[in-house]
Assembly symmetry: C2
Homo-oligomer: 102 residues x 2
DNA sequence: TGACAATATATCATATCTGACATAATTATC
DNA sequence: GATAATTATGTCAGATATGATATATTGTCA
């Protein structure tokens, strides 16, 4: 992983706790975070495709604008559950969600 | 969704709260649950491929036997995060995880 | 530039998830 | 079919995620 990305992640509040590789992420941790970032990007993309603001989407999902922003930006307090449920709720296909894993 | 599956899910403790379709699941709810079941099956499959008991896997993942069982059976208290993190930790490929979505 | 809309970040009380433990149910081996 | 091994289920205290709210930052357009 390049330094830029790591700084970005650390800035976002990710605490990297890896016994084997201090100051870095091990494979699982990295893949997990990449996954959340990819899902967040997918959510943002779909929202914009529908010409919705974060506030409007928040209403649809019965969530809040701040949480939408956090989802879209890979905030560490956001779960995969919330991301996947949100994507399913706005009609994203399972395929498009699966792509985040590829 | 056929009745058998619904009974299975309700028996497992899923509370179906759907305004549009009482006594049933709406599309998102159904897809979300199917997803967890698919990931749980993947986990069980991979564990057996490695000839591990749930206790052994629990030690590897720093979890507990009961939680492994719950993961493998789609218990409603198990999050996608835990499932995905566990799969990544035992070396499941992103591809094999993505398949659960297809 | 300033004003306004949109997005990002911080914090918190409540809700949900977690490992651990106890114990029940099932399955394998003799 | 008894015993042991494995898996499933119930419960709970502590940990983590959640929507809400406040506020900061960024973008846009006159």
């Amino acid at each position: 992983m390049e330094k830029e990305k790591q700084k970005r992640l650390e800035a976002k509040g990710y605490k990297i706790g890896s016994a084997a590789n201090f100051l870095g992420l091990n494979r699982e941790e990295e893949e997990y975070i990449e996954l959340k970032l990819a899902l967040g990007e997918t959510l943002a993309k779909q929202r914009k495709q529908k010409n919705l603001t974060q506030i409007q989407l928040a209403k649809l999902l019965k969530s809040s604008q701040s949480r939408i922003a956090k989802m879209e930006n890979g905030d560490p307090t956001v779960s995969l559950d919330l991301l996947v449920k949100s994507l399913l709720a706005i009609g994203a296909t399972k395929e498009s969600i699966a792509k985040a894993f590829h």
